[in-house]
Amino acid sequence: MTHRTYFIEAIRLLFVLTVGSETTRIKTRGEAAVFSGETRLNAWDFWMRYPDYLADELIERYDVTGEDDMLAKAEKIFVDNEPDQRRLVMIRYRFGAYEKHDDALAVLVSRGLIGIGGRKDVDRIRETDFLIFKEAFDLCSQIVKDEPVLIWYRDRAELVHLIADHRSGYALKKRQYERIEYATTLLGGEIPSIEADVKMRLEQRLKRPVGGSAA
């Protein structure tokens, strides 16, 4: 992995962390907000990297709430061919997708954008919080303004936020685990695409013939 990929991973994590952070009253090191838990970060990152799983969630949301917007968003994922274009494979580990982001996080830490918070036990699991400094929010604004090719990361992080809906990392991981394909994946193996299955579910809801192009 080159530094170039660290940078783009750092961009992705920057938007996940900023979008997914919450302001706190107690500021340990002058941080503007906190993103809670590494498990949560991985859960968010999984949906960032597997557009088909995200689309699946959008469809699920549509089925529950009947929000047409959810279906439109899911459809757009396929129209943009995101499952092919945007998927970044992850390895299944224990109870969910997992990847250590040390190199990318180091980019953010060294630029004084985030800080690694103290560890604490959440639901008997030792979790790390991420401190998000004001410079991170400023940088995000600057990126949206100066680098339009990267806006997708902000938008996607916001969409994941919509789906994650303030749920904890543990809750998200449980949710993701429910996906059969996900669950049947061998421990340590690549998490496979569920594009075909999701696309079919989408077509059914759009009342279009199965197999038809979403484009």
């Binding site: 170039r4 783009i8 961009i11 092919d84 980019v107 830490v109 060294s110 630029r111 100066d146 680098e147």
Partner: protein, 649 residues
């Protein structure tokens, strides 16, 4: 030549001509009952001695007894004379005729027959005396008895009715005169039959009535009987045999002709039917030649199969190319995706790099402690990272990489478009080929169905086979034209051989007879007659006053003269040649006054008077009106006479 050797010679000649064994010829002669009669028997002479008949005559309601008798008759000329006509002359002759013939009721007028009660006729045959006694009460009965010189009598025949009477007289005379029944072939209503004639025909010749149509007897020459009578009376050898042979031949020819006709009809019918069948066959065969469906269908089927196969091959090829094109298209799509991904990644990474390179490190990512001012200054001068010591600014030309990636994407997109276009074209081509295949397949099935269903051609083939079979069968049944029956050929030979033998005798006799006819006719007053020639067929061409004419064209008086002359000529020639078999009695009934003048009769009687004397055994009885001239010729003793208006009986 003896009779025996004459018969042997006759049979041998027939066998030789017919190329048959003698025994076979004898079989045929027996089959047709043709008897060899080469020699005539010696002539016998009949002589009437006495006639008597009794009865009761009823005229205008007045009964008067009848008792006519004419005794002591003998050879020579005898006359029945009356001053007027209708005085009973004919009845006397009719009674004689009825007695001899055995059919009295038919010979005598019905009213006269009813008056009669008894009829006696005494006669001689060559010195043998016979007495005929008839009783006519309710029915006819009677006897025929022979009287011997010793006074002894022997009943020859007795009869209880007319039928028996006729049979008895017929048998008696035929036997005594040694006559054979003679066969005459008669055609009537398009059917032919051989009829045997006997005594009635023979005896009729002894009576000359008023029918002068034919020169001998009373029947038409067409019947064939007069010729036979001539031959019989002449006693020409082989006459009976010839008659039998001719009749048998005609009968056989008729059968053959009928058979031929049937055969020809059947043949004609069969051949007509055959021609019809052959016409039908020709027509069907012509139709068959025109249809020739199977070959056409086979050719069509082959063509269909070939085009189907060709189309199917093309379809396989196009499908293979589509598979390849699909793979190419998929590959192109993947390439486009990958190139797009690569370009996007590069752009994103470049942007991310720009973002982060603009930010100087503030602290160590490992321990998060601040980067010292010294390290930062050192980085600016050496271009070495203030954190790790690596090179800070990349010498990679970002723009060049982007250009390459963009170029890649363009190329892969273009490839995808081309692959897509190719696929689309191939699919259009596939649709076309599929249609061709479907059409060819449908056409092939259609042809195949036509081949399997019974076609017009197979129907025609069946019809042709049937017609051929019927023609074969019918050809076998065509009647073969029958070869002329061997029997007909043999009978012809028999007839020829017999006729040749008969003619030999006949021609001589006819010449002698003709001379006599001429002589006698002149003596009967036909002084202008130059010649007369009796032919075997009984024609009598004559030359009168230098002109040739024939019997049929003469006057009644002349005919009567010739008729009598002919019979007398027959008798005298037969007698002279010792062959004639004329019974010896001639009765000439009174000719009708209108047809034959009294003068004619006077001349005839004058002649007869002389001739009768010349022919020793001849007995001539003439019925005539009396005249001084006649009375001069015939003495009272030789006549019965009724003077003035008297009746003879």
């Amino acid at each position: 030549m003896s009779q025996k050797s004459a018969i042997k010679d006759w049979i041998s000649a027939i066998a030789e001509n017919a190329k048959l064994d003698v025994s076979k010829v004898e079989d045929i002669l027996a089959e047709y009952r043709i008897e060899a009669m080469p020699v005539a028997s010696t002539p016998k002479h009949l002589l009437l001695n006495r006639l008597r008949f009794t009865g009761t005559k009823i005229i205008a309601g007045v009964e008067s007894p009848i008792d006519f008798h004419w005794d002591k008759l003998g050879v020579g000329l005898w006359a029945i004379l009356s001053g007027e006509n209708f005085r009973g002359k004919s009845t006397i002759i009719q009674v004689i005729r009825g007695c001899l013939r055995g059919n009295l009721s038919q010979s005598v007028q019905a009213d006269v027959f009813a008056w009669l009660r008894t009829v006696d006729l005494d006669f001689q045959i060559d010195e043998q005396d016979f007495q005929l006694r008839l009783h006519l009460d309710d029915s006819l009965s009677g006897t025929l008895t022979r009287h011997y010189d010793s006074g002894r009598t022997r009943k020859v025949h007795s009869f209880e009715d007319e039928e028996e009477f006729e049979a008895a007289m017929s048998n008696f005379f035929m036997k005594h005169f040694d006559f054979d029944k003679f066969a005459v072939y008669r055609t009537q209503d398009e059917k032919g039959a051989t009829v045997l004639h006997g005594w009635p025909a023979l005896s009729a010749a002894m009576f000359i009535g008023t029918n002068y149509g034919t020169i001998i007897g009373e029947l038409s020459p067409v019947s064939g009987i007069p010729v036979r009578l001539l031959q019989m009376f002449l006693g020409i050898p082989w006459v009976t045999t010839l008659a039998s042979a001719s009749a048998a031949l005609k009968e056989e020819q008729r059968k053959q002709s009928a058979s031929d006709q049937l055969n020809n009809d059947a043949k004609e019918f069969t051949e007509r039917r055959l021609n019809e069948l052959r016409d039908s066959l020709a027509e069907k065969q012509s139709q068959l030649a025109k249809t020739n469906e199977t070959k056409q269908l086979q050719a069509s089927l082959v063509a269909c199969s070939e085009s189907l196969q060709e189309a199917a091959n093309r379809e396989i090829d196009v499908r293979r190319r589509i598979r390849q094109a699909t793979i190419d298209h998929e590959d192109a799509k993947i390439a486009v995706d990958e190139d797009r991904k690569a370009l996007r990644s590069h752009e994103e990474e470049s942007s991310a790099q720009t973002v982060f390179r603009a930010l100087d490190p503030k602290n160590c990512p490992r321990c998060e402690s601040s980067i010292s001012r010294t390290r930062k200054l050192n980085e600016q001068s050496s271009n070495c990272c203030s954190v790790c010591g690596g090179r800070v600014h990349s010498d990679i030309d970002e723009a060049e990489i982007k250009r390459q990636l963009s170029s890649n994407l363009y190329a892969s997109k273009k490839a995808q478009v081309e692959a897509s276009k190719c696929l689309k074209e191939l699919n259009i081509k596939l649709d076309e080929i599929k249609q061709t295949v479907a059409s060819a397949s449908s056409q092939q099935q259609k042809v195949a169905r036509q081949m399997t269903r019974p076609t017009r051609r197979s129907g025609l083939l069946t019809e042709v086979a049937e017609l051929n079979a019927r023609i074969d069968e019918l050809t076998k049944t065509i009647p073969v034209a029958s070869t002329k029956s061997t029997n007909v050929q043999v009978l012809k030979i028999i007839e020829n051989e017999t006729r040749a033998r008969m003619k030999e005798h006949q021609d001589n006799l006819l010449e002698l007879i003709s001379a006599r006819i001429l002589d006698y006719a002149r003596r009967f007053g036909m002084t202008q007659l130059d010649s007369a020639k009796l032919l075997g067929n009984l024609n009598l061409p004559v030359v009168k006053s230098g002109s040739a004419t024939s019997y049929g064209q003469l006057t009644a008086g002349e005919k009567l003269r010739l008729k009598i002359a002919t019979l007398l000529a027959l008798v005298i020639v037969g007698e002279e040649q010792n062959v004639g078999r004329y019974p010896g009695v001639l009765a000439i009934d009174s000719p009708a006054a209108q047809e034959v003048a009294l003068k004619d009769l006077e001349q005839i009687i004058s002649g007869l008077s002389e001739i009768a004397k010349e022919i020793g055994h001849l007995q001539v009885i003439v019925g005539s009106r009396s005249s001084p001239a006649i009375c001069e010729q015939i003495s009272e003793a030789r006549s019965v006479q009724a003077m003035g208006t008297d009746y003879l009986w």
